[in-house]
Symmetry: C2
Subunit: 397 residues, 2 copies
């Protein structure tokens, strides 16, 4: 039997216990043995199903040799980090949905786990229920993986979808989403792109073997600056505005670069149809080409599915670290790579823009135009001649 | 070292050898050891890279103890079946992209492999390079999987995309695709839906544990009857025509049903944006909800990626049969389940249709309408009052 302790019984933690009980038979067959929830740890008063012990003391869990797997769904990097470290040091496998901790301390925790012969698995930290880290690190691993793009934050994707479909401003969409409980009371991590940035660091590690703590270096812009005029500009060119996470490995493999930024996604792009709270991740391999994984990127039940999937892997004895690093981790480089941008200008700029070969469309009182691939400095220089410029959207090719 | 023999050196077989050579380092790291192509078997004159032996005799391969894994990319159920059986009996793992053989003989070959302690793996048989069978049978296995829908034949999806975008008839699109080499000289298996039907049987096995040879029982209609008027009708309701594979497990889990049929896919459905030669598969689990896997469903390099992914699994010693069957395999039932249909009628039928509550749109000289969910018999009866009815499209909900 595999004994499971769930630390942090909010939405996801309770979902894990619920799935282990409701899908007991499916889990048993998948794992090849019984998997039982033994403990729920929380500082709040919570209710536990029959047979599951409630505790506020992590020592109760660590002292019980029937616990093989600890699920960390506390969130953040405080107690979550401390308890994860202690669980790994005590020889317990740890499974988590905590992207903040994985991005901040993943390098250290995976090394610690490997040293103790246990696993630190985190499929649920990116894309909620969507199997994405596992397929990338296992099924596609014989490819040279050179790129990953995604929509990895459901809350912002929902807000952008509402802004487009309902024609409302960002503050209005945010207010309504708060009222409905679709975003956190403090939505900064979602809205400012920090959550997406953490997930991008985790995806880049899966694809390129880069360091998780490159997270802090990734240039990031959230969606609070996205306006109705941006929506109009995207629509004028037949596409949509999405918060995109983007990463590429250099040709030499020595470095990688990436960003999180609101982007124009053309209608023909596979990410165009990813709306509401859905997430999708596209990985690029040198043989497989582009592969996309799509589904619900958050929520109790989908995220529980990913956590329990990791528990099943552990129960089946599948080795934790699928692939040893290729050598040195590629370094993050925020070099100012040229990128196309969708921007707006006053209508008297039409002639200049057309002279520069930029596609131009009417947009509200002014114009929208697609700039060629330029560095930030080149773009700024080119734009000094134009009036009324807004913060441009990146263009997803 | 893992020694590989490739039997059948057409497009996919040669791609596998090419990937093992070109991505040697990636494969070695993924597999944890060297993986070397040792033999290529073909009855045609082919060229082999240095260090790879050419043979026309399967006995050369079976006599060489350095061969651990046999790749079967012969196709069909003749020599492919015979050689696969002999390879498994000799204690070799077999990896294949041959959906025809898996659908026809998978039940027997998997049992044979299990009896010899080896694997019979076939990720490449569905969705080309897209990791789909592995994520379903491993990552999602703790879910109760109750449905699967997909676009699994790239040739027909390409033809339907051409018909829509170029406004050409099915024969014209087929002629052009033949000229460009995008479809087989004998396209019947694609066009009549048999290839999609085989893949649906394989997907249903992965999701529900049903028998592979249920293949033969699945009601199937291809795309040769799809007309420009069908395209217009779909466009009138804001969607597209796709060849859809569809399967559902019954509530009791004792039986499953499914079909392969041209279907109306509304614009909001995730399969709507799957165009050209791309494939996508959506699985439904009771916790994860809908998850979609998308990518190139055919072609040398993507399919090679899936074959090599299976070789890597074998090299890493991951157990072949992820999940023992739940008991009896659910039986296929072609019970005439009610389904909505998109059909056409003469314009004088508008009043009757609106009286029945059917949404109606103008379409060419006549009308297109969405019928409510009816059995085939009910639909036929209801339609006897109407003139000019065409073969209807199923509606994908």
């Amino acid at each position: 039997m595999i004994g499971v302790a769930v630390m942090g019984c909010g939405v996801v933690g309770c979902g894990v216990v619920q799935m282990l009980i409701k899908n007991k038979e499916e889990v048993r067959r998948a794992a090849g043995r019984d998997v039982a929830p033994l403990y729920m740890l929380d500082i709040r008063d919570i209710a536990a199903p029959e047979g599951v012990k409630l505790t506020r003391d992590v020592n109760d869990i660590l002292a019980d040799s029937a616990v093989n797997v600890v699920v960390e769904t506390i969130g953040g990097v405080g107690a979550a980090y401390d308890f994860t470290k202690r669980a790994l040091e005590s020889g317990r496998h740890v499974v988590t949905s905590n992207k903040e901790l994985v991005a901040a301390r993943g390098d250290e925790l995976i090394k610690l786990a490997a040293g103790r012969g246990v696993s630190y698995l985190y499929e649920a930290s990116v894309g909620g229920g969507i199997p994405v880290l596992h397929p990338i690190t296992r099924c596609l691993r014989a490819n040279r993986l050179t790129g990953v793009d995604g929509i990895v934050n459901g809350s912002t994707n929902y807000l952008l979808t509402q802004m487009r479909d309902q024609g409302v401003s960002f503050p209005a969409a945010l207010g309504e989403a708060k009222r409905l409980g679709y975003v956190e009371a403090d939505p900064a991590a979602d809205v400012e792109g920090w959550d997406a940035r953490r997930k991008l660091a985790i995806l880049a590690n899966a694809c390129f073997g880069s360091r998780f703590d490159d997270d802090a270096k990734i240039p990031t812009a959230g969606i609070s600056g996205v306006t109705e005029a941006d929506m109009e500009a995207a629509a004028a060119f037949g596409g949509a505005v999405k918060l995109i996470t983007h990463a590429r490995l250099s040709d030499s493999g020595d470095s990688w670069t990436g960003w999180v930024h609101p982007a124009f996604v053309p209608a023909a792009h596979p990410l165009y149809g990813v709306n509401d709270v859905f997430n999708a991740i596209i990985a690029h391999g040198n043989f497989v080409g582009d592969v996309m994984f799509y589904g619900r990127g958050a929520g109790r039940e989908p995220t529980a599915s990913a956590v329990v999937g990791d528990i099943v892997e552990i129960a089946r004895g599948v080795s934790p670290a699928a692939v040893p690093p290729a050598g040195e981790a590629p370094a993050f480089s925020a070099a100012d790579a040229p990128i196309r941008r969708l921007a707006r200008a006053a209508s008297d700029a039409r002639e200049s823009l057309e002279r520069l070969g930029c596609p131009v469309r009417p947009c509200g009182d002014g114009l929208a135009f697609l700039a060629p691939a330029l560095t930030r400095a080149e773009f700024s220089a080119a734009c000094q001649e134009l009036n009324g410029l807004s913060e441009p959207l990146y263009v997803l090719e």
